[in-house]
């Protein structure tokens, strides 16, 4: 990183707060030369990051001062939520120049969620040929391999040898910016295998390419879910995933760097869904964030009211012994936490294919046992706390038994609920939390107050 003095020495990537401040100062001074000098040495990913971190007024001023500086790579790197805002600030000629340099998958990624006017403006800037490719990709379903593949690839007839391939690559053909394989096709353009560039380079010119193909070659259909393809790329350590149409003809590739970005997004989505946060980013407006958070809170309110109804069944019991009101949240809270532990493990294991029909019963048994053992330990602790705090061994017994029941139920519900949701085609990351905490709240309050009503009064 020696060439970029502004990057923090301890950090592997990213920009410093000082750099952000300097850019903002230069923007405020309307000093276009200084802005250029600060931004020019930066990678597009870092410029995008900087644009995301400043507020919307500063963004507008920056784009105005930094005339013509915005290129296609930087646009591609920008957070989806900001692209419309930024594209609206660009002059048509500036936008056209920026998108023309992009590969087809980056153009698709850029335009797929733009409104119609902006989409037309971008597509209109492309050459006719590129435009056809982009429109073809947009015709595939959202989140499909066809939508996200890069159509730029290098293919070769299967009967070629190393020399043929080198001569072809050295000819005047337009090559993709980055490519790692030459894909071999038969006379009907069906993909039959691929050869890494390293193997081509390290073999004599007369070696047939078919002798050098990788034995792990596999193809993906255009309608395959792109996240599945990304997971396969990770699972099989692939660099290039060839995408084929109904006739097994090669139509594009998904490369590992795009797959990596997909998996990162997907992991983030699962994390945020588990926490009841919809899609969203720090650069969203307050009103958008409020709307994203609202549904989960509304569901939680319903389940909380449901749990309160369980409590209200025991109003007389609580009136008879107020200590119950003091202690009851502990049982519900421990069950909720144990349930969240189990469901998080289950949701993740379902996503990574580690939890399957082959081991689901073993996993359920394990979670129940773990709940039982931890439940017994905490039952003893809480029994002692009950006795010491309220001087009542019987109250200690009630909270202890309720704790064991709720933690066993938590282990069971935390595993079974995500598995069932998955089987019914519902995203377990999105919906498990509400179901599991409802179960542990209801069971926790019911067990504790019910046992208290039976044993104490």
């Amino acid at each position: 990183m020696s060439e970029q003095v502004e990057i923090d020495e301890d950090e592997a990537f990213g920009i410093t707060d000082r750099l952000v401040a300097e850019v903002l100062a230069a923007v405020e001074a309307q000093d276009a030369l200084a802005v250029d000098a600060l931004l020019d040495p930066l990678h597009a990913a870092d410029i995008a990051h900087l644009i995301e971190q400043i507020d919307s007024r500063d963004r507008r001023d920056l784009i105005t001062v930094w005339k013509g500086g915005m290129d296609g790579d930087t646009l591609s790197e920008l957070d989806e939520n900001l692209r419309e805002e930024i594209i609206a600030l660009l002059a048509p000629a500036e936008l056209a120049e920026a998108v023309r340099e992009l590969e087809s998958d980056d153009v698709v990624d850029l335009v797929e969620y733009l409104d119609d006017d902006q989409q037309e403006a971008v597509l209109g800037a492309l050459d006719a040929g590129d435009r056809v490719v982009v429109e073809q990709a947009l015709s595939y379903p959202e989140e499909s391999a066809g939508r996200h593949m890069q159509s730029e690839l290098v293919r070769a007839p299967e009967h070629w040898n190393v020399g043929d391939a080198i001569d072809y690559l050295r000819s005047e053909v337009v090559l993709p910016d980055q490519f790692y394989h030459v894909i071999l096709v038969d006379a009907r353009l069906k993909a039959v295998g691929y050869v890494t560039l390293g193997r081509i380079l390290s073999h004599p010119r007369n070696t047939p390419l078919l002798e050098l193909v990788e034995d792990t070659f596999r193809t993906f259909h255009v309608t395959q879910d792109v996240e599945e393809v990304a997971q396969a790329i990770n699972h099989y350590h692939m660099i290039t995933a060839p995408v084929v149409d109904d006739d097994d003809r090669i139509v594009g590739v998904i490369t590992i760097d795009d797959a990596m970005a997909f998996l990162e997004e997907e992991a983030e989505e699962d994390l945020l869904r588990l926490a009841g946060v919809g899609e969203g980013s720090l650069s969203d407006r307050v009103i958008d964030t409020t709307k994203q958070r609202f549904p989960w809170l509304a569901v939680n309110l319903l389940t909380a009211i449901f749990a309160s109804m369980v409590i209200s069944l025991f109003e007389d019991t609580i009136a008879g012994l107020v200590a119950l009101a003091v202690l009851m949240p502990i049982v519900a809270s421990m069950g909720g936490n144990a349930g969240t532990q189990s469901l998080t493990v289950a949701v993740r294991a379902i996503a990574t294919r580690d939890l399957t029909a082959a081991n689901v019963w073993r996993v359920i048994r394990r979670e129940v046992l773990v709940g039982l053992i931890n439940g017994l330990i905490f039952a003893v602790v809480m029994g002692v706390v009950g006795i010491l705090w309220f001087g009542s061994p019987m109250l200690g017994a009630v909270i202890g038994v309720a704790m064991v029941i709720n933690m066993v139920v938590a282990g069971l519900a935390g595993t079974v609920i995500p598995v069932l949701l998955e089987r019914f085609g519902i995203d377990p990351a999105l919906a498990s939390g509400a179901f599991v905490t409802t179960v542990t709240d209801v069971v926790g309050f019911f067990a504790f107050l019910g046992l208290a009503a039976a044993w104490l009064l």
Copy 2:
């Protein structure tokens, strides 16, 4: 996927439950030929996945029947928690043969957490040269780039041209299994740039390599955190990350497929930590899982008891109006959920470098505003519920105001606590949850019961 009939047509990767059943049947019948026939066509990643999914007795039987089938790639793909178990089942000669075919980073990954005896057995199987390389890597800190880099790479003097590179690659040198760049070094072996294989292949033999170098070249130090390097690879869309020593001499590379696996692991770790689950996997034993889950539950018990103490301050108030005991969990629960939403967004944004000193105040202000708006909406809802259910407008007012207070506090605590923890060097994914729910429980109960004591009695 046409060549692997056992793979589910709808799935991009993985193995079918039917295949697992067939393998287990063949193992039970001690039919070595059938086991071989089933496993041989599979990718090492799928075999490892299968071994992870069956129970430990079946694993032992499988290894016994599948004599000599276990290769280095399959060992590398296995879950860390299973490696000791499997390695202990292998005959020394079998183990030696398996590890000799691996690249240096895979050997390091395989042995770094083995006990000393097993580590010695694996290292002893290596050639002297390979052993030195592995031991050198093990001398770097855990989680450092030096520990996880692959030492096999292709470098070339900076004055070479395309023809020199091709002749060198075609000579008898041992090349890495996979490589994507030739790294240029000066006379002192200092890395000065790299060239993609695609560029070498597409240029005439007399083109100097220095004319073809990528303008985004950057290097990483051996002691740099490997996760940071993986994030940088994703951020800058790199395929190869060169690793250098104190003198800027190239000593290894981290490739994008390893970086992808690191980031996946890291995302999983963050997710599990947020849920209070330590490291662990589905193949852990009950006792190990119980131990991993225990600490977070113990912390949660303490915070729950603390919240109960707050409730006990208001025992007289509750005795005077039992409806308070019925409604109080709703306020705490809504605050807890809103707080979890804010903290999850904050923890993730800290991990991805989206939340920095440059925008922390704007994010805090936004979270508080979101909490205020949603709080006001739910305050109205709960006010109405309070009136309808208990016929008391004043009780409705108490729960409404308490709700607003707690959700504003949730937005504030959910952002400030992870930021502060990060600043003090504590992993926010690990510790934020306990702090934030303590705050929302205590504030929720205190606001609701305190207002009730002041306004209702």
